[in-house]
C-alpha cells in the first residue's frame, strides 16, 4: 500500500534520513523503531507532506506523495497522529474530533456517523465530550488524538510515539486499541521508541539508526534480537 524508495530528507543543513526504503502492505501493522534523532518522526512528516523530500519516492497505492501539500495528502485518506499528544487544549473533546473530520465537513450526516463510531470505540471520550481537551489525562489525550485521526475515515494511519510519557497501563490500552483497529482492516505505520510495545503488536518492523535502516524483518524475530539493543545503546 505504501512504498518508500531510497528516501533522503533534510531539515535545513541537516540530512536526517539517508537512503531509507520501506514497505507497508495493506492490512499490516509495521513498526519503525529506534532511539531519538534516528529520524523516525521525520519519516512520518515526509510522508504527510510537512517536511520536504530531498530525493527518493513515496508512493501510496502507486500515487506519488512527495510533492503534495499536507492538505492533499490528508485528502487521500492518510491520517497522521503526530508526536506529543497535540490536542487543541482550549477546545472541547467534541470540537477536536470535529476538526479531525474537517475534510468531510460538507457531509453532515457522515460526520455525525463517524463521530458516533469513535464515541462507541472510546467510551471515555464520549463521557468527556464537552470537556476541554487540555484537562484530560495523558492517556485520554492520546486516545483523543487517535480518535481524531480515525474520524477522517482513513485507509492508512501513521502514529508517532503514542506511548510517549504514558504509564505502562495506559500504553497497554493504547496498543490494544491499535491492534483491534488493525483487525478491523486499518493499515498502521507505528513509530515508537519503546520497541517492546510496538513489536508486540506489529507484523513487521524496521529499526532506524542515525537516519538509515539498520535492521528489518518480521516482528517476531526482532522481538528477541539482541542487535536491536545495539541499535539503541551501541556496544
Amino acid at each position: 500500500m505504501l512504498e518508500i524508495t531510497d528516501l533522503d530528507v533534510a531539515y535545513g543543513p541537516l540530512t536526517i534520513l539517508r537512503g531509507v526504503s520501506l514497505v507497508v502492505a495493506r492490512g499490516e501493522i509495521v513498526a519503525v523503531i529506534g532511539s531519538n534523532g534516528a529520524g523516525k518522526s521525520t519519516l512520518l512528516r515526509a510522508i504527510s507532506g510537512l517536511t520536504r523530500v530531498l530525493r527518493g519516492s513515496i508512493a501510496l497505492e502507486g500515487r506519488r506523495l512527495e510533492r503534495l501539500r499536507p492538505e492533499a495528502v490528508a485528502a487521500l485518506g492518510v491520517a497522521h497522529v503526530p508526536q506529543g499528544r497535540q490536542v487543541i487544549p482550549d477546545l472541547s473533546v467534541e470540537d477536536n474530533l470535529r476538526l479531525g473530520a474537517w475534510r468531510l465537513r460538507s457531509d453532515g450526516a457522515r460526520v455525525a456517523r463517524l463521530l458516533a463510531r469513535e464515541y462507541a470505540r472510546f467510551p471515555r471520550l464520549a463521557e468527556r465530550r464537552t470537556q476541554l481537551a487540555g484537562s484530560l489525562s495523558g492517556g485520554e489525550q492520546q486516545m483523543l488524538v487517535i480518535a481524531r485521526g480515525l474520524v477522517m475515515d482513513p485507509g492508512f494511519i501513521m502514529m508517532d510515539e503514542p506511548s510517549l510519557g504514558l504509564a505502562p497501563i495506559a500504553v497497554d490500552e493504547i496498543m490494544e486499541t491499535i491492534r483491534r483497529l488493525n483487525e478491523e482492516g486499518l493499515t498502521v505505520l507505528l513509530v515508537e521508541q519503546a520497541a517492546a510495545y510496538a513489536l508486540a503488536i506489529a507484523d513487521r518492523g524496521y529499526v532506524l539508526k542515525n537516519g538509515e535502516v539498520f535492521l528489518s524483518g518480521p516482528a517476531a524475530q526482532l522481538r528477541d534480537d539482541e542487535r536491536v539493543v545495539h541499535g539503541y545503546l551501541g556496544g
Binding site: 534523532g37 510495545y197 542515525n210 545503546l233
Partner: protein
C-alpha cells in the same frame, strides 16, 4: 594607505559638491542629506548592527534639536556647549528608553518605540511653554566662526565633515571586535550569552549610541534655518529615516549615506509628479523589502562577494598538531560540576525531578535518556537559561545559583546548542573569535579611535582564533560564512567558539547529531584531546556508539529522574535502562536480566 586615499577622495567630493548646482537651494538640500545621514548612521547601529528596532527615532532627533535650540536661543549658551548638550541629552533619552526596551523584543519593542516617538511629538506640539508648539522656537543662532556667521556652503562643509568623521569612526568600530560583538548579539543573543557576553549591556549601549547620533543630527538641523517647530518631529520623519536605512541597506556600512541620498533625491524628482509623489515612500518600502531585502548598498556588497568568490575547499583532514587549548584552571582533582537536587516543572509537568549529578574534573560525562527525559531542560538549568524551582548548581566549588548565563560563562561554564546557534553574519574566524570577547576590557571609545588597549585585545583574539582554527582544521574556510560551509564544519565552528571562551566545563548539546561516522569520529578525537588539556565535558547525545566510546561516566534520565549512573558498560547492561528505552517486554531485556 588605501584608506587615506579614500578619505582624501571623500573630502574632495565634499568640497566640490556644492558647486555642481551652485544654488542656495541645492546647498540646503546637501546639508539636509548630510545631517540626515548622521541620524541614520546611528539608526543603523541600532537596527542594522544590534538587531533591535526603533520606529520612533524622530523622538531623539527632536530632543537633540530642542536642546540646542532652547539653550542657545533662549539662554544664550555658546554652541560649543549646546551641541555636546544635545548629544548628551538625546543619549540620555536613549538610555531611559533602553532600560525597559531591552527586556522586550519583536512587536512590543516596535510598539514601545512608536509610542515613545508619539510622546515626544505630542509634547513638542502641546508643551507650548517649553517648545513653542507649532509656532516653534525662533532666533536660533547660526554657527559662527570668529564673529562671522557660517551659512550656506560653509555650514554644509561643517556638517558634511562631521558626517564623514562619524562614518569613519563607525567604520572603525564596526570593523573591530566591538562591532563583531554587537553583530553576535544581533544574530543570537543566546549564543552570545553562552560565551560570556553581557547582552543587555550591549543592547543599551546600541540605544545610547544611536540616540546620541540622532541628537547630533537634530542639532545640525536646528541651526540650519534658525527656526524649528513640532512639524519636523512626526512619525513621517521616523518613517523617512527607516525607509532610508532599508533602501540604502540595513546593516551595511554605507547603507545610511546611500539611502538618505537616494530617498532625498527621489523626493525631489517626484515633486514633478504632483499628486503621485507621495506614493514613493510606501511603494519603495514595500518593494525593497520584498525584492531587495538588502537594500542598494547591501545588494552591491553581496554581488561583489559573489563575483570574488572561489569554490569552497573540500573538508580538510585534521592536522596532527596538538590542540592549543588553555583551560581556565590547571587540571586539579575534584568535582568540576556539582548538581544537587535540581528540580524544574512547567505547568503541571515535572521536567527535572530532583536530579543529582557530579562531574569529575577532567572527565567526559554523558547524559542520555529517552525522548522527553529532561536532558535539554537539565542543560538549560545548568547553563542558567532556566531558573530551577529547587536545587543547586556549582562549578569547581563556586555556587552558580541565581546568576545569569553570561556570568556562568565567565566562570568557565560554556555550552553549545543542539540546533547550532552560529552568528550568521560573521565569518568562521569571526564566529570563533567572539568566544574570546569576554576577556576584553577596552571601552567603546578606545575601539572607535584604535587606541592601544583595543588593538592589543584584537591581536590577542586574533592569535587565539588562528591557533584554534588550525587545531580544528578550519583554517581553509576561515573567511566563509556559516551558510556557505558543510554541516560538519559548522559543528566544528561552534565547538571552536566554545573553546575560544576558555571553558573549565563544556556543556555539549548533541555534538554529533546529524554527522556521519567519519565526522563523528573526528569530533570524538577532538574531545579526547580537549579532555587531555584538563577541560571537563558534560554532553547530551543520542548516538550511543559515540557515547559509549568516549565517556568515562554515563548518567541516564527518564521522566526527569536519574535512573542510572555508572560506566558505559554498566549502563548498557542495566535492565532498568533497557526497559526505559525499549519497554518492558523486549526479549533482549529479559535475556539480559536473566543473564545478570
Amino acid at each position: 594607505m588605501v584608506r587615506l586615499v579614500r578619505v582624501a577622495v571623500a573630502v574632495a567630493v565634499i568640497a566640490v559638491l556644492p558647486y555642481v548646482f551652485p544654488t542656495a537651494y541645492f546647498t540646503h538640500l546637501l546639508t539636509t542629506i548630510a545631517y540626515s545621514t548622521i541620524v541614520v548612521l546611528g539608526l543603523n547601529v541600532l537596527i542594522g548592527f544590534s538587531g533591535q528596532i526603533s520606529l520612533g527615532h524622530a523622538g531623539f532627533y527632536g530632543v537633540g534639536a530642542y536642546t540646542t535650540a532652547l539653550l542657545s536661543a533662549q539662554h544664550g549658551w555658546s554652541l560649543w556647549l549646546t551641541f555636546p548638550a544635545a548629544i548628551v541629552v538625546a543619549a540620555a533619552a536613549g538610555f531611559v528608553l533602553a532600560l525597559p526596551a531591552i527586556r522586550t523584543k519583536g512587536l512590543y519593542l516596535a510598539v514601545m518605540t512608536i509610542a515613545f516617538g508619539f510622546v515626544v511629538e505630542i509634547l513638542s506640539q502641546r508643551w507650548v511653554e517649553l517648545t513653542g508648539g507649532t509656532m516653534g522656537v525662533y532666533g536660533i543662532p547660526a554657527l559662527s566662526w570668529l564673529g562671522t556667521p557660517v551659512g550656506g556652503v560653509g555650514y554644509f562643509y561643517v556638517v558634511a565633515v562631521v558626517a564623514l568623521a562619524l562614518q569613519l569612526l563607525l567604520n572603525t568600530l564596526v570593523g573591530s571586535l566591538w562591532g563583531r560583538t554587537l553583530t553576535a548579539v544581533k544574530d543570537s543573543e543566546q549564543a552570545a550569552e553562552a560565551v560570556g557576553i553581557d547582552v543587555l549591556r550591549w543592547k543599551v549601549l546600541a540605544f545610547v549610541v544611536s540616540a546620541g547620533c540622532a541628537g547630533l543630527g537634530g542639532a545640525f538641523f536646528a541651526h540650519q534655518n534658525g527656526y524649528i517647530n513640532s512639524d519636523a518631529f512626526t512619525f513621517s520623519t521616523s518613517l523617512f529615516l527607516l525607509v532610508a536605512l532599508i533602501v540604502g541597506g540595513l546593516g551595511n556600512r554605507y547603507g545610511p549615506v546611500v539611502g538618505v541620498t537616494v530617498l532625498t533625491l527621489l523626493n525631489q524628482l517626484s515633486a514633478q509628479l504632483y499628486e503621485y509623489r507621495f506614493y514613493t515612500l510606501g511603494v519603495l518600502l514595500l518593494g525593497v523589502l520584498i525584492f531587495m531585502p538588502f537594500g542598494i548598498a547591501g545588494g552591491v556588497t553581496a554581488l561583489a562577494r559573489r563575483l570574488g568568490r572561489r569554490p569552497a575547499p573540500g573538508s580538510g583532514s585534521p592536522p596532527a598538531a596538538p590542540a592549543v587549548v588553555t583551560a581556565a584552571g590547571a587540571a586539579r582533582d575534584g568535582i568540576a560540576l556539582s548538581v544537587r537536587g535540581l528540580m524544574k516543572h512547567f505547568g503541571g509537568v515535572v521536567a527535572v525531578d530532583g536530579v543529582d549529578v557530579e562531574v569529575a574534573m577532567g572527565t567526559i560525562h554523558a547524559l542520555i535518556g529517552p525522548n522527553g527525559a529532561g536532558k535539554t531542560t537539565f542543560i538549560n538549568l545548568v547553563s542558567g537559561r532556566l531558573v530551577p524551582d529547587r536545587g543547586h548548581v556549582a562549578c569547581a566549588g563556586i555556587a552558580l545559583d541565581g546568576t545569569r548565563p553570561f556570568r556562568r560563562a565567565r566562570r568557565g561554564v560554556i555550552r553549545t546548542f543542539q540546533n547550532l546557534q552560529l552568528f550568521s553574519d560573521l565569518t568562521v574566524a569571526e564566529n570563533v573569535s567572539v568566544g574570546a570577547h569576554r576577556h576584553v576590557r577596552a571601552t567603546t571609545l578606545e575601539f572607535a579611535f584604535g587606541l592601544p588597549r583595543a588593538r592589543r585585545a584584537e591581536a590577542e583574539a586574533r592569535r587565539r582564533t588562528a591557533a584554534l582554527l588550525a587545531a580544528l582544521g578550519l583554517a581553509g574556510i576561515a573567511d566563509r560564512r556559516p551558510d556557505e560551509i558543510a554541516y560538519g564544519h559548522r559543528k566544528l565552528v561552534e565547538l571552536g567558539r566554545a573553546l575560544a571562551a576558555e571553558p573549565a566545563v563544556l556543556l555539549l548539546d548533541e555534538p554529533v547529531a546529524g554527522l556521519n561516522a567519519t565526522e563523528a569520529d573526528r569530533i570524538r578525537e577532538l574531545l579526547a584531546r580537549i579532555r587531555a588539556q584538563g577541560v571537563t565535558i558534560l554532553l547530551i547525545e543520542h548516538n550511543m556508539d559515540f557515547v559509549m566510546k568516549i565517556s568515562e561516566r554515563v548518567t541516564v534520565l527518564n521522566f526527569g529522574q536519574k535512573i542510572a549512573d555508572g560506566t558505559p558498560e554498566t549502563v548498557q547492561r542495566d535492565p532498568v535502562v533497557l526497559e526505559a528505552y525499549l519497554g518492558r517486554r523486549h526479549g533482549a531485556t529479559a535475556a539480559v536480566t536473566t543473564r545478570a
